[in-house]
Amino acid sequence: METVIVTTLVIGGIGLFIGLFLEMAAIRFKVEIDSKEEKILNALPHINCGGCGYSLCSGLAAAIVKGSAPVNSCPVGGEITSKKIAFIMETKVTNQRKMAAYVHCQGNSDVVKEEYEYTGVENCLMMAYVPNQGPKACNYGCLGFGSCVKVCPFDAIHIVKRIAVVDKKKCRACKKCIAVCPKKLISLEPVDVIYDKKHHDIQGAGAIVTCNSIDQSSETTNVCEVGCTSCGICKKVCPSNAIIIQNNLASINQDKCTKCGLCKEKCPKKTIC
């Protein structure tokens, strides 16, 4: 009986002492947390995707409070979140175009030649080890094995006919696909510019050069029906000088583009869409 009492007293006493001691320590060593930081963290989407450049949402919240990140740095939350955060920080959001990922290649299995049949691991990164960097004849285009599909947390990318297609309505511009694509094919483009093949909302769509090949025109023509041959027609017809041709590839400055659609019409390969 004595043993039971002694053990109970000792353990209970230690527990009580530790509890009180920690409680006192907590009061003594209290660290003030900025209430703004907590509010901002609540406004953020809490998916910790890393699209803003910070590994956790809490990291971004701390950075916003410090002033080292703008209030609209969260690419996922979009306008609503930035407005909420701006309200907490008592500032205004500077206007920003909504962005979505865009795959700069349209060489699907109908238009691009395949040199052989590949039946290995379905992973774009594997293509560095197989002959000719993958079965597609074009060495710059989409490999079509869906590494981007696997990393997308929003189910916004799908492989259609051996090519990655982004659903711009689902895309939240977290940049994960951009990081994983071994061909560096994906970039962020303004949503209003992208022509959505799936939903056919051609209205208001701008023009984007959907090719990544820097091969000379003859080689590009050999392997792909829709590759940019850098013929220069688009540059000539553009009324606002928005198109430049570099490394055998046309590119459009989206800030200058007026969405007149002339280049789309005139492009002989229908590369611009």
Binding site: I14, G15, I18, F21, L22, A25, F29
Partner: protein
């Protein structure tokens, strides 16, 4: 005095290398496998472990000597040690957060994580079993933690290199890591001829 220092050095070398806590005693395996993907994070974990085990050895051996032994309740050592270690880590975390913000940020999540690391309790119990005094316990604790850090950093280095290897499908992930750990344990057997 000279003899004491000699003994301390032998204890330290023995705990760090010969009877390495991870590779020959199989304690603290969860962080050893869990946070050994990158050298940077494993170094963070190692620092936190050194910090906590050294402190815990000091405190637990003091409690054992001045509280449990006089009251003749040494059979309560396990539960008392767990309580004390958990509280200690909590307290240390608070102090660091207030006064040493940089160290707190460097240790990050690892500090609270290792409260439940079996190596910490294991060292405290080994100290009691081997009848070490307070000074000897602290040195032993420090050496064990250094051994842990050595093991986890070597492991992280190996794993970083393994990323680029062509590993058969069945061995990918944990299996190859466990095999590597086994081979490392065999390699560390080489130290057993040291003394």
């Amino acid at each position: 005095m000279v003899k004491e220092i000699q003994e301390l050095i032998i204890i330290a070398l023995g705990s760090a290398l010969v009877s390495n806590v991870v590779l020959s005693q199989f304690l603290g395996l969860c962080p050893f496998l869990g946070v050994s993907k990158k050298i940077e994070t494993s170094a963070g974990m190692g620092t936190a472990v050194i910090f906590v085990i050294t402190l815990a050895s000091l405190v637990t051996s003091t409690i054992y000597k001045y509280m449990l032994t006089p009251l003749k309740i040494t059979y309560l050592q396990t539960i008392v040690f767990i309580l004390v270690i958990a509280a200690l880590v909590q307290f240390v975390e608070m102090v660091l957060k207030k006064h040493l913000k940089h160290l707190y940020e460097a240790l990050g999540i690892y500090l609270p994580l290792i409260t439940t690391n079996c190596a910490v309790l294991g060292v405290a119990l080994t100290n009691v079993k081997k009848d070490y005094g307070i000074l000897y316990s602290t040195v032993n604790g420090f050496a064990v933690a250094v051994g842990f850090t050595i093991a986890i950093i070597i492991m992280a280095g190996l794993r970083e290199k393994m990323e680029y290897n062509d590993i058969p499908e069945a061995f990918k992930g944990m299996p190859i890591v466990l095999l590597t750990a086994g081979l490392m344990a065999i390699a560390f057997c080489g130290f057993s001829g040291l003394f």
